[in-house]
């Protein structure tokens, strides 16, 4: 009790934050408990040795290759989609919005099965691609397909909210000053929605890094970190997955903080 009062008296007084902080603290504690328990096993496991096996290194390379590509694809196609959804009413818009959410609703394994029915090796598309030497399943391209399917909705949904919050009159002002629609999008809408877009990119990247369900259906091999973790788990249990799980935490955290830093750079020229 005294601790709480001290916290309230220290710094700026924000008594209105006590209840939210307490409620949030419950969730935070719930997040932390499994982390601490899991990381508590680190002491008894050789982490470096676990990460230096060829399989582990290859999985890390594959993840670092595929997740950024998936994120880039999701962003290049997703942000324009988000802009259209935020700015334009058209018949069937609700349907389009629902399609965007669909990959979030279906379990990843079902998403993987859906991708397989569309581009699997025995489908017209899949067999043509395989014949051309670009297999869409069991390849890094397959991993990218799975990751993009599952992770892309995050950047679309978040960016749409960001564009929605941009005052349309600013865009109109830009147009009335003689700038074209593209210049207006690039110089006004995009910078103003940047926070939301970066948040979406971060979410998409994190989801792509951790993607397992759809990936293992479409491309179990070549293995990414989550698939290699699963193989290690089948054979060796919880201690066997520690090294790669730590690597996944570390790498994702690194990229996410870097992205957030980039997102904070000045959006408009300040004088």
């Amino acid at each position: 009790m005294r601790l709480a009062r001290g916290w309230l008296n220290g710094g700026r007084r924000r008594p209105e934050l006590v209840v939210p902080a307490l409620l949030g603290g419950v969730l935070l504690l719930y997040f932390l408990l499994p982390f601490v328990a899991f990381l508590g096993r680190v002491g008894s496991t050789p982490i470096v040795a676990g990460l230096s096996t060829p399989d582990a290194r290859q999985a890390i390379r594959h993840s670092l290759l595929t997740a950024p590509v998936s994120t880039a694809i999701a962003t290049v196609f997703g942000v324009p989609l988000a802009y259209v959804l935020a700015r334009q009413s058209f018949p069937g818009k609700r349907l389009v919005a629902a399609v965007v959410v669909l990959p979030l609703v279906v379990p990843p394994v079902v998403g993987g099965a859906m991708i397989l029915t569309a581009v699997g090796r025995f489908t017209p598309l899949g067999s043509a691609a395989a014949a051309a030497g670009i297999p869409l399943t069991g390849s890094l391209l397959g991993v990218v397909l799975a990751q993009t399917f599952v992770a892309a909705p995050f950047v679309v949904i978040t960016s749409r909210a960001g564009f929605g919050a941009v005052d349309e009159r600013l865009e109109q002002a830009s147009r009335s000053l003689g700038y074209g629609p593209l210049a207006t999008f690039w110089n006004v809408s995009l910078p103003l929605a940047r926070g939301s877009i970066v948040a979406g990119v971060v979410l998409t990247f994190a989801r792509a890094m951790g993607e397992f369900g759809a990936t293992m259906m479409v491309a179990y091999n070549p293995r990414t970190i989550p698939t290699q973790i699963w193989v290690a788990f089948i054979g060796g249990g919880i201690d066997a997955i520690l090294p790669l799980a730590l690597a996944l935490f570390g790498l994702t955290l690194l990229v996410v903080t870097t992205l957030q830093r980039l997102g904070r750079l000045p959006a408009v020229v300040e004088r």
């Binding site: 290759l65 091999n221 699963w230 054979g235 000045p266 020229v269 004088r271």
Partner: protein, 311 residues
């Protein structure tokens, strides 16, 4: 200020371009594959056998890399039936099931496994099981609901074999009502790999598993006697006394645990697949080290085995 922002944007753009180019280059490089490899779709209980024992040895001796994929045997067969996967070698933990479901041109049984209980040595149950003063079934009867785990009998042969083992143990040791009592009491784990994770973390005191799984996880293992460990092909008739009926009404009789494999006719890397099969047959010690049983009875072939494979 303007120029600073410009240069920053430029450098960032350059950096992004560098990343994109190198990523795409790497992606294209990996698409080609490079070096020969063979895709194996195998029963999950052999994951460690392949990953830790067979794959490194095979690659060192032949230069061929094994790409292993592991699921429960039912899932493996389902993926072949549905044409969602197209491996070069298919390995099943239930020889009969592979034969019935896939009707391959040929298959080879290459190893057996035995059933028993893996226990957490830090629990009272585990300590008493390891001490060996009391029979396992007496200890199992004393466990509380959910303490002991088996695989889900509806999804996994390991699960219905556990139930059948309870059945045969009931007859063998004259334990009235043992199968029913145990079936009510055990926790049924839907995912085979989670079985031993439960034991390791202390969520369960023990689980009915194959011997090689206990070896993989470094857990104490109490092997059932031959009367109900399903390891002896000679006892096939006695094992068949125990049955399990699925929810859809079909009944499966107990049968020895026999791993078999086949190479599909349309496999991409047939030659490499045949070499792997040959390697497996020539090196039974690798399988034994991993906890499998490779006795005189193996290998046993069915159908027309390709000439490239020498039994």
């Amino acid at each position: 200020m303007v120029s600073r922002w410009r240069s920053e944007r430029c450098s960032r753009r350059t950096a992004l371009r560098t990343v994109a180019v190198s990523t795409l280059g790497g992606l294209a490089g990996c698409l080609g594959g490079g070096g020969s490899s063979v895709d194996v779709l195998s029963a999950g209980s052999l994951a460690r056998t392949f990953e830790d024992h067979l794959n490194p040895a095979f690659e060192a001796d032949t230069g061929i890399r094994i790409h292993g994929e592991y699921h429960g045997t039912n899932a493996v067969l389902r993926m072949i039936e549905d044409e969602t996967k197209h491996p070069d070698v298919i390995v099943s933990a239930d020889a009969t099931l592979l034969r019935e479901r896939l009707s391959p041109d040929w298959d080879i049984e290459f190893a057996a496994n035995s059933l028993g209980i893996a226990a957490n040595p830090e629990t009272a149950f585990g300590r008493r099981l390891v001490a060996g003063d009391e029979p396992w079934y007496a200890l199992a009867r004393e466990t509380d609901d959910g303490d002991l785990a088996i695989s889900d009998p509806e999804l996994d042969p390991l699960g219905y074999r556990a139930i059948q083992a309870f059945d045969l143990a009931e007859a063998e040791h004259d334990l009235a009502g043992f199968r029913e009592a145990m079936t009510d009491r055990v926790y049924m784990e839907p995912e085979e790999p989670q079985l031993l994770a439960g034991v390791e973390t202390g969520a369960r005191v023990g689980a009915v598993v194959y011997r090689n799984m206990a070896v993989d996880h470094d857990l104490p293992f109490h092997e059932f006697p031959p009367a109900y460990n399903f390891a002896d092909p000679e006892r096939a008739a006695a094992y068949a006394e125990a049955t399990y009926t699925f929810e859809d009404g079909t009944t499966v009789a107990g049968r020895p645990i026999r791993y078999n494999l086949t190479v599909p006719g349309d496999a991409d890397n047939r030659e490499a697949a045949h070499r792997l099969v040959q390697y497996l047959l020539d090196n039974p010690d690798i399988l034994q080290e991993a906890g499998l049983t490779v006795g005189e009875a193996f290998p046993r072939s069915t159908g027309d085995v390709p000439e490239a494979i020498d039994l």
